[in-house]
Structure formats: structure tokens, C-alpha cells
Amino acid sequence: MIYLQILANGLALGGLYACIAVGFSLVWGVLNVINLLHGSMIVLGSYIALFAYTTFGIHPFLTVPIAGGIVFALTYALQRGIINRVIAAPVLMTLTLTFGLDLIFNNAMLTAFKADYRKLILENPLGSWSFSGVTLPVDRIAAMALAMLLTLMLFRLLKDSRIGRAIVAVRMDRDAAALMGVDVMKINAITFGIGGFMAGAAGCLLSIIFPISPLNSTVYLGKSFVVCVLGGLGSVPGAIVGGLALGIIESFGAFFLGPEHAVTLAFSLLIVFLIVRPTGLLGKKGYE
């Protein structure tokens, strides 16, 4: 029975991980840029949720579109103004650039919000469900369900909308997409913005579960790396599979090896996957 509980915890965690990583994965796949700002954008989303709740009493679930929108605008502007200038530069340049930008943002958040861990405590928690020995806090399940819903909405957006199909086209072949009349520069910025939206939204959902601090940004960034590599790059189903896999592996790893080895386990998996199966669980050949 304990295993069922661990599995349930892992799945609940995994849904959130998928939402954390899907934007990062999309940006990496489409723009070929590793966005080291991603972790800080998630934390920014959490702070927006915290302030909306403490000053206006808005429930974090309702803040999702607001936080997502704010982070969308911010990341869209950053891409258009700065990152676009080096979009064709070697890996080293884009990595260094986003690292520098992250230093600026993280330091700004540290100055504005201080480094202490804060907690968003809901006044009316929804309690927990319990059936056949498995206990599930309802708030956590709701956050996970919302995370999955957002991720699926992104999936539909990519499949059904004009802009989504343009994004997929750029992901497949940038030059061919440009020849077909897709404005690649615009798609780059929109994709980056969507990555930001998902980060901000995920931050809102995480705010009711995890403590909030600028110091958490590297943790979220690390999770994004692992989920991307596990699931396969740049596709929504890949992020979902990778997120759920990481959630389950971490829960069981914490049970069998102890929670202090969670990071070692996750990163060791990452290296093994990179070497053995760089396309990820769901990836296609040549899509790594």
C-alpha cells in the first residue's frame, strides 16, 4: 500500500514537473537556446501569486493567467531586444548570455524580495482525500490537474492554431519555414514568450506547495534539464512523459535511498540518458 502512496505522490509531483519543463523544452527545441532564465521566471511567477494572495486575496489558481501574462510580456521583450541579436551565435554565446541575464534577474529578485524562504498558506485549504489507504491533499491534486490542463492547452495550441503550426514548422526546419513565408524572428519571440508564460503559470501553481525564494531558481532549472533529456526535446508529450517519469523516480528514490540523494539520482539519470538515448523516451531519431 505504501508503494501506491509513493506512486501517487510521484505522479502529483510529475505533473508539476511537466509544466515546469514544457516551456523550457519548447524554447530549446525551437530556438536552439538553453534558457538559463527559466528558473528565475518560475520564481517570479510564485512571487506574483504570493503578492496577489496576500494583498488582494486572489487565489493562486486565479492568478495563473495574470502571472503567465506578465512573464510572457517580459520574456517576449527580452527575446526581441537582446537574445535575438545572438540567435545564430554558437552554443557558448547564447548560454553565456542567458546566464548573464539570469544573474541580473536573480540579483534583482534577491534585492526586492530578500532571500528568506516564504510560504503561501491558504486560509481555506481544501483538505485531503483518502481512499483505500492512499491520502491525497486536494490542493496539490488540483494544482497538478491545472498544470496538466495548461500543458494540454499548449499541446492543442501547437496542433490547431496557425501560430502553433508555424512554431512546429520552425522547429522542424528553420530555413524551409522561412521559405514558406513564416516570419521566423516573430515565431522565435513568441515561442520564447510562451516558454515564459508556462514558467510564470507553473510558478503560481508551485507557490501553494513549495516555499518561495529566489534561491529556488536553480532547483527548477535543474529539474527542467532532467525532464527535457528524459522525455525528449521540444515536444509536449515528451515533457509530460519526462515530468511524470522524474516525479515517480524521485519519489521512489527518496523512499529507497533517502531524500538527500534525490539530486544525485536525477543528474546521474540525465547523464546516462544523454549517453544512451539522447533523443529521450519519446524522441524521434535526428530530433535530439
Binding site: 536552439n32 551565435a89 541580473i104 544525485t264
Partner: protein
């Protein structure tokens, strides 16, 4: 020949600095020598060979802990330092074989993960490493000024050794192979360059001196902890220095280290609370406006002026 002359004159000039008893100056000098070692080490793999490695912190920390653990077991300092280089180098060869098959972003992330894994392993092996409490290193029974001079000379010696190896590599077969891989790895393979061996050699070279630098650093500051020696900044700073100085050039990394240290010192003095952000602004400005390094940009500007005069 000219390169050896530059190295000799540089060694002499920086060696004279040791005569000064000013501990602040000696501290800066030691930092500079350490940065030069890390930057030149990174240049072997990141600059010459073109693999964006983020593993410098891993080697630095591994060296620091190897030496600290040996010294805790009553081994002499010199043995600890030598072992640090060997362990870091050996580890790089071992881990390099699988991860150097990766390219671009994938290699960057894999190399970054190695430091994260090592840090967590050190953090959790409390019996050997003291975990998050860190480790104290034996104090030397010497007056502070003499200690400052001694550690400065040691770090400078390491920097000179690293530069000497860099000169040999740069003009030798090895450097030629590295540059072939950097330009076009597939073509190099087709022409008969054993890319796997040479890539691994470059990775190993980048680890040995970083490991010794970590060991000397440990004794210099008397105390190491996982968060300090495995800090990702130890991976990023050398890379920034090399970018500043000029990617894949011989003396560029040293030049970059001098400029970086001067900037860092100015920033620390004037903007303590927001030093990370100022550093971020510098990095962003460098990538946007000086993508090919200061030295190369100076050359371009000079050429433009000469062109106008003619």
C-alpha cells in the same frame, strides 16, 4: 620562441611582486594566478577544441577535496596537491570518454551535471568529507605575510607551468589536432585524426591544473565546503575570461583574467549588494558587443585606423 620570452619576462615581473609584503596585493596576485590557471585550463577544451565545458567547478572541487582528505590523513601538503592533479585528471579521462560523444548543448549540460553530482556526493558522504559542514585544513606555523608570499609563489608557479604546457600544446601536434576538431570534427576524423583520443586529452588537460588550483586554494583559505568549491561560478568565470581575452588564443586567457579580476574587484568594492547583477550586465555587454574578445577587437580597430591613414 617569442612566446617563451613573454612567459619568462612575465614570470620575472610577477615574481618580483612576491617581494612586496603587502598582503592585499598578494591576495589579488594569488587570485589572478588562480584565475589564469582556470582560464587557461578551460581554454584547452572550450577554446581550442570548441567543446563548451561547464565542468571546471567539478575539477576544482574534486582537487580541493582530494587534497583536503589526504591532509586530514596526515599526508604532507605537497602529496595532497600532486594527488589532486592526478585524481582530477584521471577522473576527467574516465568521464570524458562517454560525455565527449555529446555535442553542443548536450555536452554543456552533461558537463554541468558532473559538478552537481560531485557536490551532492560530497555533501552526503559526511564521514569522509564532513558534508555541508566543510573541512578545515591544517594551519601553517608561519607569519601571515610569509604565508601570503608562499601561496602567491605556489599559485604563480602553477600558472607558469600551465602556460608552459599551453605553449607546448599550442605549437605542437596536440594543438593542431584540437584546432582541427574545433573547426570540423567530421572532416578531422575522415583525415585520420583520432578525435576521441584528442578530445579526451584536451578534457584531461583542462582538469589537471584546475584540480591542483583547487588544492592550493584549499590550503590558502584553510577551509573548504561543497557550496564554495563546487560553485558554478568557478565554471562560468574562466569561460568569461577566455571570451574576454579571445577564444582559443594562447595568451588571451591571461589577459582576460587580468581584465576580469580588475572589474570584479572594482565591482565588489563599489556594489556589494548587487555585485552579481553588475557582473551579469558585464557578461551581457561582452556577448553583445565584444563576441570575439578584447584582443581581437583591438586588432580590428587598429586595422581600421591604419586603413584610413593609408
Amino acid at each position: 620562441m617569442r612566446d617563451w620570452l613573454i612567459l619568462g619576462v612575465g614570470t620575472l615581473l610577477f615574481g618580483l611582486l612576491a617581494l612586496s609584503g603587502d598582503t592585499y596585493l598578494l591576495r589579488l596576485g594569488t587570485m589572478l594566478a588562480m584565475y589564469a590557471v582556470l582560464a587557461m585550463s578551460w581554454n584547452f577544451i572550450g577554446g581550442m577544441t570548441g567543446y563548451p565545458s561547464f565542468a571546471t567547478a567539478a575539477f576544482f572541487g574534486l582537487g580541493a577535496y582530494t587534497s583536503a582528505i589526504l591532509q586530514a590523513a596526515q599526508m604532507p601538503m605537497a602529496v595532497g596537491w600532486a594527488a589532486a592533479g592526478l585524481v582530477a585528471g584521471g577522473f576527467a579521462l574516465l568521464i570524458g570518454l562517454p560525455i565527449l560523444r555529446l555535442k553542443g548543448h548536450y555536452f554543456a549540460i552533461a558537463s554541468l551535471s558532473i559538478g552537481e553530482i560531485l557536490r551532492e556526493v560530497v555533501n552526503t558522504s559526511e564521514e569522509i568529507t564532513g558534508g555541508g559542514m566543510g573541512m578545515n585544513l591544517p594551519l601553517l606555523r608561519l607569519p601571515p605575510e610569509v604565508q601570503a608570499q608562499a601561496f602567491y609563489l605556489c599559485m604563480l608557479g602553477l600558472a607558469v607551468l600551465t602556460t608552459a604546457v599551453a605553449i607546448l600544446v599550442h605549437h605542437g601536434r596536440l594543438g593542431f589536432a584540437f584546432r582541427c576538431i574545433e573547426q570540423n570534427e567530421d572532416a578531422a576524423t575522415v583525415l585520420g585524426v583520432d578525435t576521441r583520443t584528442f578530445k579526451t586529452a584536451a578534457f584531461g588537460l583542462s582538469a589537471v591544473f584546475s584540480g591542483v588550483a583547487g588544492a592550493i586554494y584549499g590550503n590558502w583559505v584553510h577551509y573548504i565546503e561543497p557550496l564554495d568549491v563546487f560553485d558554478i561560478m568557478h565554471s562560468v568565470k574562466p569561460l568569461v575570461m577566455v571570451l574576454l581575452g579571445g577564444l582559443g588564443t594562447l595568451f588571451g586567457p591571461i589577459f582576460g583574467a587580468i581584465v576580469f579580476l580588475a572589474l570584479e574587484e572594482a565591482v565588489w568594492r563599489n556594489f556589494l549588494g548587487v555585485h552579481a547583477a553588475v557582473l551579469g550586465v558585464l557578461i551581457v555587454a561582452m556577448v553583445l558587443f565584444l563576441p570575439r574578445g578584447l584582443a581581437t577587437s583591438f586588432e580590428q580597430i587598429a586595422r581600421r585606423f591604419r586603413g584610413k591613414a593609408a
